[in-house]
């Protein structure tokens, strides 16, 4: 078995993995990226639409272009990359962590590293996860699988589609399927508001005259061999209105019903997860409960934009470099999700450093206010014009905001939306 040693190993060669690796390389550490697909870029490769890079590169790029830019940044560096290689096992108990990577060209590769960065991204929730009853015919796919088939393989999964869930991939695929000659009959959303970004509702549905059914549940898939239709039932005041159910004939159902961080490898290595995000619990350095194992990007929590992924991963990479040099925060405080906050990432803040937090709210509201409290005393407030669960909110907290926590024995920093 081939064996190689590095200071840091990055699992996943998407935007997060590349951004984290670049920081580590720049700080003078030896670093390896392991990517299971044949090329770097992760899911960006099949996202041929534009809308990427507005923050990171100050211009509008397609997914493959964004990936290419990220790749250009690591070209000529000392970063080793293995593509077509899947990390199948991770032993992170000792100071030196061991990864076993399976690859057709190399067989099994044993990689040893002092630090590991988890950057594996997320997977789509599927029919089973949301428990749609009915027949089990061909023609039910996740939106991301359909995207792969159309954009990379040149194969079209259907001619008449209904899209379940108004997540961004579903909206993008509504437009994409329309362009390849598939009639998209409806997008069906269980919630009273869309899950995807507003710009995608406008550009992908409204511009194509595709109806969006809000507060509707898909109650049955119909069709013995191939999909023949879906039964849709309206929800009023939280109850299913069975007498108002109707069937939309179609041959294809695409699911865009949420993403889940892919943490089976992390769990196997003893990493503790946050049930609200499905990602690891991390401290202010984005380090998990397993010393030397860090997480960033969609494996930590699902982001709206790849630009945020890159930003977070850069910080993760810089933190790993600091950690490898022996630095760690002197004083941390626990972060608590207050009223109307779904989750906060990370789970701790550094009282002496600059912190950037990502959060999601549980509510839709115009004219909301964000409050940061230290042991129940408000230390910072911010006005938010409009908030909704699908749009991530960022909060920056510096030493000045948190100075009142300094003298307390076990300070808690709470973030609330009011």
């Amino acid at each position: 078995m081939k064996e190689l040693n590095f200071d840091a190993a990055v699992i996943g060669g998407g935007a997060a993995g590349m951004a984290a690796a670049r920081e580590l390389d720049a700080a003078g550490f030896s670093v390896v990226i392991i990517e299971r697909e044949e090329r770097l870029g992760g899911i960006l490769g099949q996202c041929i639409h534009n809308g990427f890079g507005l923050i990171e590169f100050n211009e509008e790029l397609t997914g493959p272009e964004f990936a290419e830019r990220m790749q250009e940044r690591i070209e000529g560096t000392g970063i080793r990359t293995f593509t077509g290689a899947t990390v199948m096992e991770m032993d992170a108990r000792a100071e030196i962590k061991t990864l076993y990577c399976y690859s057709a060209s190399l067989g099994v590769l044993r990689l040893n590293a002092r630090a590991v960065v988890l950057a594996m991204g997320c997977r789509e929730r599927n029919r089973g996860n949301i428990r749609i009853p009915g027949d089990r015919p061909a023609g039910v796919y996740t939106a991301g699988l359909a995207q792969r088939l159309v954009n990379i393989e040149g194969l079209v999964p259907g001619k008449n589609a209904v899209i379940i869930g108004s997540g961004d991939i579903g909206l993008i695929m509504a437009r994409r399927m329309s362009w390849v000659g598939c009639k998209v009959h409806a997008v069906v959303e269980i919630l009273p508001y869309p899950s995807g970004l507003t710009r995608n509702i406008v550009q992908c549905l409204n511009d194509f005259g595709i109806p969006l059914y809000l507060s509707h549940l898909t109650t049955r898939i119909i069709g013995r061999e191939r999909v023949e239709g879906v039964e849709i039932t309206p929800i009023e005041n939280g109850a299913l209105m069975h007498e108002k159910a109707f069937v939309i004939p179609c041959d294809t159902v695409l699911l865009s019903v949420g993403l889940v961080p892919e943490n089976e490898l992390s769990k196997g290595a003893g990493v503790e997860l946050n049930p609200m995000t499905g990602g690891p619990m991390v401290d202010s350095m984005l380090m998990t409960n397993v010393p030397g194992v860090f997480a960033c990007g969609n494996v930590l929590h699902v982001h709206d934009l790849v630009d945020y992924v890159a930003e977070e991963a850069r910080r993760a990479g810089a933190n790993v470099a600091r950690w490898l040099k022996g630095a760690k925060p002197a004083r941390e405080a626990r972060l608590k999700s207050g009223p109307n906050v779904r989750y906060l990432a990370p789970s701790r803040v550094d009282l002496d450093g600059d912190n950037k937090l990502y959060l999601r709210t549980l509510i839709v509201k115009n004219g909301a206010s964000l409050e940061v409290k230290v042991n129940n005393r408000v230390v910072k407030t911010r006005k938010l014009a409009h908030i909704q669960p699908s749009e991530m909110i960022t909060v920056e907290l510096g030493p000045k905001d948190l100075e009142s926590a300094a003298g307390l024995p076990d300070p808690t920093v709470e973030v609330a939306i009011v």
């Binding site: 078995m1 299971r36 077509g84 899947t86 199948m88 096992e89 076993y100 399976y102 690859s103 057709a104 060209s105 190399l106 067989g107 099994v108 044993r110 997977r123 789509e124 599927n126 029919r127 089973g128 996860n129 428990r131 009853p133 009915g134 027949d135 089990r136 015919p137 061909a138 023609g139 796919y141 996740t142 991301g144 699988l145 792969r148 088939l149 159309v150 990379i152 393989e153 040149g154 194969l155 079209v156 999964p157 259907g158 001619k159 390849v180 000659g181 598939c182 109650t219 049955r220 013995r224 061999e225 191939r226 041959d251 294809t252 089976e264 769990k267």
Partner: protein, 479 residues
């Protein structure tokens, strides 16, 4: 091996677990045997969607043929596993009693089990049953312990049986729907819907849900198979609810109740419901029934969570009378009826193979042992079960063993290729054979890879790739 309209000694209709066991048993003799099925692959009917239990022999009174075959069949699994290398484990069965009345029912089951000769059967106190299965509801009062009960992957069992039968000369014809049968001299001519013809001295009707229709095709006994639907949920292998034993509730008069099953491959199955349906192709799941499963499973194992659900599915039991119907037709010559094989049919199936062989012998079939009969099938490596060092060795000879196609169930390209080469060319066939697409992403990541491998290995074009044959095409257009 015979071709086209040649004459066989025995034609078995239905390549489910009964047909496969019968075919494999007959393959030990100097006989020409053909096993036909109307579906695109074997094990695509009743045998693919059931609880996968090797029962404990205490549920039925031994006055029934099904109870006697169950007890005999259950004891045959250890040897079969050695020969055929399919996933099987005697993890034991607990029946949990949650009320005083149920403890009395447990006592009845215990006495029946003792009467049936069940080895190691035991009445349990609360303490004992919680020791055997700590995940049980702490309110449990006691129960029954049957150490010999076990779990099996039913389709993998059928695939192994069919592979063994094929290796010993049995011919397999899929997409062969018996549409007409005629008797001339001492010979049956069976005509498929697509015009193919098989001639055989004896015919075995092991057509599962369609055994009544096949019987009618032969002008034999009139009976009616009534499908009874069972719905299931499959839970992720990382669930906290995975028990160490198969957990049964106290049975009702119509069914053995809804179980919590730790599958051999590491996932957890909960179900089945039991609901009479009119349509033999109705495999739809329903919201009401699925809710029942979750609440029933939680009563026994409180850790069952809907967040662990990765898929749901339904199977149909081919119910006829109280007992199995396995005998020579009295209406027409040289036809064996194997019908109404509901639970414990999977457990009984190896014994059904023996039983049908004996019926055929009595009917005049000459059984001469094959000198070169080989009961073993080659062991296939599964990357999931191997250490990195073992995979590295395999990959040195075939790099495809280190190319991961299905990340959730850890299936390599080499295993997919092996499945295709063994004749499984639909997505479902590959799923049941290899487990690829069976894990938590349900094919979200690997479907396109598998489609490409099937196309590469078989030369099929994109519009010929199906989920499970017929019109279940995956793709509608190419750019």
């Amino acid at each position: 091996m015979k071709q086209g309209s040649a004459r066989y000694d025995v034609c078995i209709i239905g390549a489910g677990v009964c047909g496969a066991n019968i075919a494999r048993r007959l393959s030990a003799y100097e006989l020409d045997v053909v096993l036909v099925d109307k579906e695109a692959d074997v094990s695509f009917g009743v045998s693919k969607a059931n609880s996968g239990i090797v029962h404990g022999g205490f549920h039925h009174n031994k006055k029934y043929l099904k109870a006697r075959l169950e007890i005999q069949g259950a004891m045959m699994f250890d040897r079969l596993r050695q020969e055929l290398d399919f996933p099987f484990k005697r993890c034991g069965i607990v029946v949990a009693a949650l009320h005083e009345d149920e403890m009395r029912a447990i006592e009845q089951l215990y006495m029946q089990g003792v009467d049936n000769g069940v080895i190691g059967i035991e009445m349990c106190s609360r303490e004992r049953i919680l020791e055997l299965e700590p995940k049980l509801n702490p309110d449990v009062l006691g129960g029954l312990w049957v150490p010999g009960g076990g779990i099996v992957e039913p389709y993998r069992f059928v695939f192994s049986l069919v592979e063994s039968a094929k290796k010993n000369g049995v011919q397999i014809l899929t997409d062969f729907k018996a549409a007409a049968a005629a008797r001339a001299g001492d010979e049956w001519t069976v005509r498929a819907e697509d015009g193919r013809v098989v001639k055989a001295r004896y015919v075995v009707n092991a057509a599962g849900l369609y055994a009544d229709e096949v019987s009618a095709v032969f002008g034999a006994e009139e009976f009616k198979i009534k499908p009874r639907k069972g719905e299931y949920y499959l839970l992720d292998r990382l669930t906290k609810a995975r028990p160490d034993r198969v957990v049964f509730p106290v049975p009702t008069s119509v069914s053995k109740g809804m179980l919590v099953i730790p599958t051999v491959e590491g996932t957890v199955l909960i179900g089945p419901t039991a609901e009479a349906v009119g349509d033999k192709a109705d495999l739809a799941t329903t919201r009401d029934q699925l809710e029942k499963i979750l609440s029933s499973a939680r009563t026994m194992i409180p850790a069952v969570s809907e967040y662990d659900v990765i898929t749901s599915f339904a199977g149909l039991r081919p119910t006829l009378e109280e007992d199995f119907y396995i005998e020579m037709s009295k209406a027409v010559p040289d036809l064996v009826q194997v019908a109404g094989i509901q639970s414990p049919g999977l457990t009984a199936s190896p014994a059904i193979g023996e039983y049908v062989k004996d019926l055929l012998k009595k009917a005049g079939l000459k059984l001469r042992e094959k000198p070169d009969y080989d009961p073993f099938v080659g062991k296939r490596p599964h990357v999931k079960d191997l250490s990195p060092y073992e995979v590295d060795e395999l990959a040195a000879a075939d790099p495809a063993y280190a190319n991961m196609v299905c990340r959730c169930e850890k299936v390599s390209e080499a295993e997919i290729v092996a499945a295709v080469r063994a004749g499984h060319t639909t997505l479902d066939g590959i799923k049941y054979f290899t487990r690829a697409q069976m894990g938590r992403c349900q094919g979200g990541f690997c479907t396109y890879k598998i489609v490409k491998i099937i196309m590469r290995e078989t030369g099929l074009s994109w519009d010929q790739i199906t989920k499970n044959g017929g019109d279940s095409r995956i793709l509608k257009d190419a750019l």
